[in-house]
């Protein structure tokens, strides 16, 4: 499909969703997380993103704009059945970028962005869920905005359409305050799950969606081989004998050292080598250097 098909005069809204383990089963015997198709799905904030896109499209269509809602997912083949359900609620297109394994947020964003560039989906608004439910950091939308050179408004708790192509967004600030933003194209926004509940699809649309095809994109990105991060060696925590004392208070006092005199801070001005020596010496004095650093 080329960009001429992509509603150049109208507004393209893209909702990004993540196929995630909703109720991870952690095997208590092996400690491994077991993923299964049955316990995977989309989070409520992703559903809110899709519903927000549909509502905006509806509002702007009523004002005479041609709006196209696309649902975009970077995920495995397992997600296809659930992705097809987005046709039933009113998505015009559903696109899956093939991604079989877990990737970092930056890499997922890179993959999504490759499908979102003007020659592909030509999105004016990209709407994401705020954080994915599988320990997400909420950084994918920010990376996306960076890749696409768009404005960003993340973690929204309210979304209202105004004139076609612009919308009011509400964001939570500290101390119970709210920030109101007026957004125009092109922007990446992310919404909390409370913003909207995905509508229930009609039976006829659900049946029709069974016949629809999820577009598949295979993007080849040569990611560098991942190397486990090397960190300076940190000494292990020391094992201390349990505090003695008859009552809880005296044990806490002993444990915290609250009533014993604290060591006064010292300021040393040394060369780097000498400083390192002094640090090691002090650590040894405190008993931290009993075990040698790992090879």
């Amino acid at each position: 499909m080329n960009s001429a098909d992509l509603n150049p005069a109208g507004i393209n809204l893209v909702a990004c969703v993540k196929w995630a383990e909703l109720r991870p089963e952690i095997d208590p015997l092996h400690g491994s997380v077991e993923a299964s198709q049955r316990s995977s799905g989309f989070s409520s904030s992703d559903f809110a993103a899709v519903e927000s896109a549909l509502r905006l499209a509806q509002a702007w269509s009523d004002q005479g704009q041609v709006c196209v809602v696309t649902v975009l997912c970077a995920g495995p083949e397992d997600a296809e059945d659930s992705l097809r359900d987005f046709f039933a609620v009113g998505a015009t297109r559903v696109v899956r970028v093939d991604l079989a394994e877990q990737r970092s947020s930056a890499q997922v964003a890179e993959l999504l962005a490759s499908a979102l560039v003007p020659s592909q989906l030509n999105a004016q608004f990209v709407i994401c869920g705020d954080v994915s439910s599988d320990r997400g950091s909420g950084s994918v939308p920010a990376y996306l905005a960076h890749h696409l050179g768009m404005q960003q408004a993340l973690g929204l708790i309210g979304l209202e359409s105004t004139d076609p192509g612009s919308l009011h967004a509400t964001r939570r600030l500290d101390g119970g305050r709210r920030e109101r933003l007026l957004l125009t194209a092109a922007a990446v926004i992310s919404v909390e799950g409370s913003v909207a509940t995905l509508r229930r699809s009609s039976l006829a649309a659900t049946l029709a969606a069974k016949q629809k095809t999820v577009e598949l994109r295979k993007q080849q990105i040569d990611w560098p081989t991942e190397v486990n991060r090397l960190r300076p060696w940190r000494p292990r925590a020391r094992v201390l004998a349990p505090p003695a004392g008859d009552d809880a208070l005296s044990r806490i006092l002993e444990l915290t050292g609250a009533q014993s005199g604290s060591t006064a801070a010292r300021t040393l001005r040394l060369d780097p080598e000498q400083a390192a020596e002094a640090v090691l010496e002090q650590l040894a004095a405190w008993g931290y250097l009993d075990d040698s650093p790992p090879a």
């Binding site: 109720r23 316990s39 229930r200």
Partner: protein, 99 residues
């Protein structure tokens, strides 16, 4: 509630092992006024999810969220019309994984 020789898990732990996709609409409602006249109260004993609780004013407090949708309560109910029972909205309610 259990014998001393075998450590038993708490009811909360037991129920937390089950997935419930709770819908905002209650699929079962209990008319506490009718329950006030009930002397048997089999639901309190029999409901496997322990969702029925006696209230101080003689009624029954019922929560629908952690319901197995088994049907025990309306079957053992003695009072006509006390429990209105239906299934939760499609896709919601209890979801078993390894049963």
């Amino acid at each position: 509630m259990s014998t001393d020789s075998y450590p038993e898990i708490s009811f909360e732990t037991r129920m937390s092992s089950v997935e419930f996709r709770v819908h905002e609409r209650a699929h079962i409602t209990v008319d506490s006024k009718i329950c006030a006249d009930c002397s048997t109260r089999g639901c309190i004993t029999a409901c496997p999810a322990n969702l029925f609780v006696s209230t101080a004013d003689g009624g029954i407090l019922f929560n629908y969220e952690l319901c197995f949708e088994c049907g025990t309560c309306y079957m053992v109910c003695n009072e006509e019309g006390a429990i209105s029972w239906s299934y939760p909205e499609g896709g919601h309610g209890v979801v078993f994984h390894s049963s």
